[in-house]
């Protein structure tokens, strides 16, 4: 592989292209284009949300006379604010339940041997990899049978199915990184196993716990498939569903739809901006051993 096969001249010639490709200008150009590709659809929604229905038809890039009417139409006239409230409730409740159940479970998988422990862990992974669309049809029937159609409870239960296995897996990976000697030292000092977990190991894993919490919240906030299946009215509907239903209308109010989309994206975007580090840790921590 080394330079023996070709001369210095050839080496320089081949390397020159790469020196250009690796230069600061090219690197920043690539990143700028990537950011443009990612951000421009959202900017377009933002611009549209400031237009009047007439302004949408005029096909200008910038809103000619910016107005917040679209937000008023979406949030108040169409009752979209209810979906915002529902989303906050559903995402918070799902996150609390999933983290409370999943964190101790992840700890067990990181520390204890028990009969069929690997089989149980594979079951958890299996649950995670099982395609959710496969469960939608039976889930719809179950929810109907138990009178949970059009309830937030029905959506929260679906979120537990979707994210609990993920959190167990992520938390296990975080607990593994903490030396077992820590638990043992705590027990020598007189802690019970539960106290060792609660007062000694858990505080150390808090950054991982934060990552899990943020990921679960974002995922629950984003969830569409089950929320759409379970809820058809504004009593229980979450933001992704409500925004989608704007499009179903005969004459689409594009600027109101854009306003709704912006309202839905703002919380996600804020979470990403403030907790970027945790999200990256959670995404990669959920993948590696």
């Amino acid at each position: 592989m080394a330079g023996a096969d070709f001369t210095v001249e050839q080496y320089r010639r081949r390397q020159r292209v790469w020196d250009v490709l690796e230069s600061r200008y090219v690197v920043h150009l690539v990143l700028f284009l990537a950011v443009f590709f990612i951000i421009s659809p959202l900017i377009w929604q933002l611009l549209t949300s400031f237009k009047s229905p007439q302004g949408v038809l005029e096909l200008t890039y910038l809103p000619t006379d910016p107005t917040l009417d679209a937000y008023e139409r979406a949030l108040i006239e169409r009752g979209f604010w209810r979906a915002v409230v529902n989303s906050v409730i559903v995402a918070s409740a799902s996150t609390v339940i999933v983290m409370v159940l999943g964190t101790p479970a992840g700890y067990v998988f990181s520390r204890f041997r028990f009969p069929y422990d690997n089989a149980v862990f594979v079951f958890v992974l299996f649950t995670r990899l099982f395609p959710p669309i496969g469960l939608v049809t039976p889930y719809y029937r179950i929810v109907t049978t138990f009178g949970l159609l059009n309830t937030k409870t029905g959506i929260v239960i679906a979120n537990v199915y979707l994210w609990l296995p993920l959190v167990i897996y992520i938390m296990r990976n975080f607990f593994i990184t903490i030396p077992q000697a820590l638990d043992e030292a705590a027990r020598v000092d007189g802690c019970t196993k539960l106290q060792a977990f609660r007062h000694v190991v858990f505080p150390v894993v808090l950054p991982g716990f934060a990552a899990g919490t943020i990921l679960t919240f974002l995922y629950s906030w984003r969830e569409f498939l089950f929320a759409f299946t379970v809820s058809t009215d504004l009593q229980s509907m979450t933001i992704p569903v409500a925004t989608f239903l704007f499009v179903g209308d005969a004459g689409i109010d594009w600027s109101a739809m854009a306003a709704a989309a912006i309202v839905a994206v703002i919380p996600s975007a804020l979470v990403v901006i403030f907790f970027q580090r945790y999200i990256v840790v959670g995404l990669t921590g959920g993948l590696k051993g």
Binding site: I39, L42, G134
Partner: protein, 313 residues
């Protein structure tokens, strides 16, 4: 079992003392039990019902037990094979685009030395990952709208197009749009995973390659790529698997149209199971989707299980 381990100080008598001892002796059950019970209710129950429903004929009124009926229909229904074909095009299109673009972004990010600038870039790029998928769908639907869409507007202003084009009305371009939308939301994930892989490559490897006089391309092929293989594996498999079962984006961008041109299996299942209330057939198709995903996922599980050996306890 508990006596062989550290017990700590005795808790004395009393109800709370005995309760505490019981918790200590059954710590695994106490900590893991609730999760397993929850998974039993929220996963096993619907999963068993899925198998049961797939054996029912639900086409008419009521249900009759006809084990072969739905599975027979799968193989004779031409629209099913259309959905399989579209799912394959969609998932592989998204896989190559997201992982390819993710790699370029990760390589570029890795070259930015100032960590604040790097974080600023990755924050901006991560935003698309956090956007709810149905909103990704309606956004792209809006941008590619035939009359009022910004894409036509830009292309007309630039003189690329002479008249408005109906992007979502044509089978081929509709597929291109949904794949683009899907990749848009998956690129950040691929980039993050690949960047983590890049950053785990020891600097000595690069120093050694430089000493040997390797060109950048040689270094990339012989150092970077081999080290990145596990990250490619993870990013690629996850991206593919999630695109294979994709529902929200094709459903909210095109509704599966025009004429089934972007109807992935998930949209197909939703149409039969929820819209047409033909539970049995939707369940049989779901079983097919589950089987395919799980065959692929098994590979992924083995990959993870290799790492389980690290736990010594």
């Amino acid at each position: 079992m508990a006596t062989e381990e550290y017990r700590g100080a005795p808790h004395g008598g009393g109800l709370s003392g005995r309760l505490s001892d019981w918790v200590n002796d059954h710590i695994r059950t106490v900590l893991l039990g609730p999760s397993l019970v929850a998974l039993l209710v929220v996963f096993i129950y619907p999963a068993v019902m899925l198998v049961w429903l797939s054996l029912q004929n639900t086409r008419g009124i009521g249900e009759t037990f006809e084990p072969a009926y739905n599975y027979g229909r799968i193989f004779t229904d031409p629209t099913f094979w259309n959905a399989v074909e579209k799912t394959l095009i969609y998932s592989f299109g998204s896989l190559f685009l997201s992982v390819g673009a993710g790699l370029v972004v990760a390589l570029a990010l890795n070259k930015v030395l100032d960590s604040r600038i790097r974080n600023a870039y990755s924050t901006l790029i991560l935003i698309s990952w956090a956007v709810p998928l149905s909103i990704v769908g309606v956004t792209w639907r809006w941008m590619f709208n035939g009359q009022l869409g910004v894409v036509n507007k830009v292309l007309l202003d630039l003189g690329v197009l002479e008249s408005s084009y109906s992007w979502l009305g044509n089978s081929l371009s509709a597929m291109v749009v949904v794949i683009l939308a899907d990749s848009w939301s998956r690129i950040p994930f691929a980039a993050v995973v690949l960047l983590a892989g890049l950053q785990s490559i020891p600097q000595e490897m690069y120093d050694a390659a430089k000493m040997d006089g390797a060109t950048t391309w040689q270094t990339f092929r012989n150092v970077t790529l081999p080290y990145l293989r596990p990250s490619f594996f993870v990013a690629g498999l996850i991206t593919w698997m999630f695109a294979f079962r994709a529902f929200a984006i094709p459903f909210s961008t095109t509704g599966g149209g025009p004429g089934g041109a972007t109807e992935t299996l998930a949209v197909y299942i939703h149409r039969f199971g929820i819209q047409l209330l033909d539970y049995g057939f939707a369940s049989a198709v779901s079983m097919f989707l589950v089987a395919v995903t799980l065959v692929v996922a098994t590979g992924y599980v083995y990959f993870i299980l290799e790492q389980i050996e690290e736990i010594e306890v």
